[in-house]
């Protein structure tokens, strides 16, 4: 005697089309607004099939044909899908050979309301609905009422997150249905001729979710609808089955729709024991029903359904808890995330199509500090954005003036009025308007300059020193884009101290210099290495045109762009900052030390400058003197730039050279 076990049913696993959430969001915004009235919704499922699955393509490069790929039997969850048009119940667009189920959607306005919903009551109401459909025979005419479902949702339209909870109420008898023996394959009981006949009859009957099957003698099967029970029913074994379209893929368990069907059969026809056919079609081959299963279900004696019966059917989340699920569609619906993805995709395309060895991630994660938010600063920032750089900081102590917007492409007319916005902040704000996910900040700091006595207190000077130091230390690349020689001195010192890559761009009327500073202890020089005079005040007492450093307008764009491209090339080079200038190449090409351009001739030159042991900007002597007492050293230099010449050793060198000239050279010495 075979032992009975409790008949277990595979629950539904919901799968909602992302486009459905979009439709719900639109409907809520435009139609529902604050209404919490319930909406009709529909879903569909297909019959299951137990199929060995394997990945669509081999994981390792060694496997060549799919027949040699090891197959694993993965039982897929029993899917019930809500399509994009699920809210439009007059529509019935769904894949062929699927079964439609109707449901009720209840969307709340806030997460609190969602939490506070009386879920037990809603569930109970739905259960009663199904129970009544069984009692008044509605279910016989519309058998899909047995699978009617409930869907509670909360659409968070600010964060594009959708909380949702499905319920598929299943009526429970006082004690569970049993199965007499394990499920059997249809092929063990029916011949292939019988199966073909059944499949054809099923198709011809327009594929109902449940049906009756009678076999009178071998090879003759009679197919009937549920409402034709009286004509079909017989107690003889191997003669009568109730079939249902079974969405389950399991080898051992039938799907959820069987539960309420059994309740119907018990209530209407007093059934306590029954042959069940779990009808399963091969996808795309509807006349192949080999995967179908047979089972015998039995209700324990004297057991009934209470009136109304208990029911279960809330869907569990991925942790198997009775809690709602959440779909995060930010990446597809949030315009800011979309912008981010688009920029990334664009850069990736460049790499894939043209230069596969380009290390874009390295560029993206480089933090850039721009000292100066004028013509050069604006063009540099724009090019950095184009390369996908996401961290850009501006330092500038000026305000946007009326002549700026035409030459400094981050500013608009609005930035100029009422005295003008602080430039660094305005530039950062402008970047955010271009790419909302960029990390852009602006700092209003005055850079200490040799020859310009600090008008502020010692305290403020120390604060400026500390702030600049912190900024330089926390970034990877420092751009020197200010409008004077002396303003580049202190940042050069600090950057050399921290061994950061410095890109220096300077403009004349129609000439430009774009260079990278050499590494600390390296052989390439900095901006000041070729000088034998310390930087000093070049700004005071200048005429207006000299102060504004008027340049040909296109120059800033050229030099700014070159500065960024130079940086990227350095980043791509295996040696980075230490890359030699002349003949070493990176994947993008050369990595020069200095580019000097002459717009008058549309010509540029690549120059290499050696580092100078007596440099006022980057030599070890100056750095050591600074480190001994930063505040006092800077104060002294601001007041007396010639002191720099002493410290760096230039003064001594000049004295030695003069001494040589003073010597009397005997003719015989030559």
């Amino acid at each position: 005697m075979a032992t009975s076990s409790i008949l277990q049913f595979t629950p539904f696993a919901s799968s909602v089309d992302a486009a459905f959430w979009q439709e719900l969001a639109n409907k809520k915004l435009n139609v529902l607004k604050l209404s919490e009235a319930s909406q009709p919704v529909y879903a569909y499922y297909a019959t299951g099939h137990s199929q060995q699955t394997h990945p669509p393509f081999p994981d390792t490069a060694n496997t060549t044909s799919s027949t040699t790929t090891p197959t694993t039997t993965t039982i897929m969850p029993t899917r019930i899908c809500v399509p994009a048009q699920g809210l439009d119940t007059n529509d019935d667009t769904r894949p062929p050979f699927t079964f439609r189920v109707n449901g009720t959607l209840l969307n709340t306005n806030t997460l609190e309301d969602f939490k506070k919903l009386d879920k037990n009551q809603l569930f109970q109401q739905h259960t009663v609905k199904i129970w009544e459909a069984i009692q008044n025979e509605d279910a016989l005419d519309h058998p899909n009422i047995l699978s009617d479902f409930l869907l509670l949702t909360f659409a968070d339209l600010k964060k594009y997150k959708f909380y949702y909870w499905f319920a598929f109420p299943a009526l429970m008898p006082q004690e569970p249905w049993l199965q007499i023996k394990p499920m059997d394959s249809i092929g063990n009981v029916f011949s292939s001729m019988e199966m073909t006949a059944l499949a054809n009859a099923y198709q011809a009957a327009d594929r109902p979710p449940s049906f009756l099957l009678r076999r009178k003698k071998p090879n003759t099967v009679l197919f009937g609808q549920l409402r034709d029970w009286d004509e079909f029913f017989t107690n003889e074994q191997d003669e009568f089955w109730v079939g249902f379209a079974d969405p389950s893929h399991s080898e051992t368990n039938p799907g959820w729709p069987l539960r309420n069907l059994l309740a119907l059969l018990h209530e209407k026809h007093g059934i306590r024991k029954l042959n069940i056919m779990c009808y399963r079609e091969m996808p795309g081959k509807v006349n192949l029903i080999d995967a179908s299963k047979l089972l015998v279900a039995e209700l324990p004696p004297t057991c009934h359904y209470s009136k109304p019966p208990k029911s279960v059917g809330w869907e569990r989340n991925a942790q198997a808890k009775l809690a709602p699920r959440m779909a995060d569609l930010g990446p597809l619906m949030d315009p800011i995330r979309l912008a981010d993805t688009a920029v990334d995709l664009n850069l990736k395309l460049m790499r894939w199509r043209v230069m596969p060895d380009l290390d874009l991630d390295k560029v993206k994660h480089t933090k850039c500090l721009l000292l100066g938010a004028g013509t050069l600063g604006c063009y540099v920032a724009r090019c950095l954005l184009g390369w996908g750089v996401r961290h850009i900081t501006f330092v500038d102590n000026g305000r946007v003036s009326f002549s700026n917007p035409v030459r400094q492409p981050l500013y608009t007319f609005q930035d100029c009025i009422q005295g003008g916005k602080p430039k660094a902040e305005a530039a950062a704000q402008s970047l955010l308007e271009i790419q909302p996910t960029v990390n852009a900040k602006g700092y209003d700091i005055s850079i200490p300059m040799p020859g310009h006595v600090a008008l502020s207190s010692d305290e403020q000077l120390l604060k400026d020193i500390e702030q600049l130091t912190a900024l330089i230390q926390s970034h990877d690349v420092i751009y020197l884009l200010t409008d004077s020689r002396e303003s580049r001195w202190f940042p050069t010192l600090l950057a050399t101290l921290s061994n950061k890559l410095v890109i220096n761009a300077a403009l004349g009327f129609d000439t430009y210099l774009v260079m990278r500073h050499g590494a600390r202890h390296g052989s390439l020089g900095c901006y000041f290495c070729n000088d034998i005079v310390a930087p000093a005040d070049s700004l005071t007492d200048r005429t207006l045109d000299q102060q504004c450093t008027v340049t040909r307008p296109g120059l800033a764009a050229i030099a700014g762009a070159l500065g960024v491209e130079l940086m990227v090339s350095v980043l791509q080079h295996a040696d980075g900052m230490e890359a030699a200038a002349s003949d070493s190449d990176c994947v993008l090409g050369r990595v020069p030390h200095q580019v000097r351009g002459f717009l008058g001739q549309f010509h540029n030159m690549l120059i290499v400058g050696q580092s100078y042991a007596n440099c006022t900007g980057c030599s070890e002597k100056v750095i050591e003197a600074y480190q001994q007492d930063p505040l006092q050293f800077i104060k002294k230099i601001l007041h007396d730039p010639e002191h720099l010449e002493q410290v760096s050793g230039i003064a001594q060198m000049k004295a030695e050279s003069e001494a040589l000239l003073d010597q009397d050279w005997e003719e015989d010495d030559f």
Partner: protein, 161 residues
């Protein structure tokens, strides 16, 4: 999601437990074939969704979350295509992957750019006719993004439509 949201339900021995293996994650990928009037060829659009993770991490609540491009590369896009792209194979017949609004649904979808489709189909133009065009096209372009076709589709049999 705090405990307020967890329900108590009648215990039910008749609900089968889902026996999902450890470390398994289910992904749902949807594919759409849409005609491109500009290129006059079909275009394959796709999106992937995460069905939720087993582990209890803050991210584990996200079920039905759209996969990012990196995740698509990890799970869906075939290694062969990635290699061919990496080696700068300009004749990559499948074209490159990009993202845009689905022409009908109006919702962002990834897609395989159709610029190479015509030249790809020309290579086999002598072997196909108008009725088998979509099948052949899909068999060439689909596998790169995990959309495989059964070879049964290509065997001539009376039941094939």
């Amino acid at each position: 999601m705090d405990e307020l949201l967890v329900l108590q339900e009648t215990s039910d021995p008749a609900t089968a437990k889902l026996s999902e293996q450890e470390g398994e994650t289910h992904l749902t990928v949807e594919y759409h074939i849409v005609y491109s009037p500009g290129y006059q060829v079909p275009v394959l659009y796709f999106n992937g969704y995460d069905a939720g993770k087993k582990k209890r991490t803050p991210l584990s609540l996200k079920e039905g979350t759209a996969l990012s491009l990196d995740e698509l590369y990890q799970w869906i896009i075939s290694k062969e295509m990635q290699q061919s792209l990496q080696h700068g194979n300009r004749l990559s017949q499948q074209g490159s992957i990009s993202q845009e609004d689905h022409p009908i649904l109006g919702f962002p979808f990834y897609y395989i750019h159709p610029c190479e489709t015509q030249s790809m189909m020309r290579l086999i133009s002598h072997d196909i006719n108008i009725h088998s065009y979509i099948k052949s096209w899909l068999s060439l372009i689909g596998p790169t993004i995990g959309c495989t076709l059964s070879h049964q589709l290509f065997l001539s049999s009376p039941t094939n439509k």
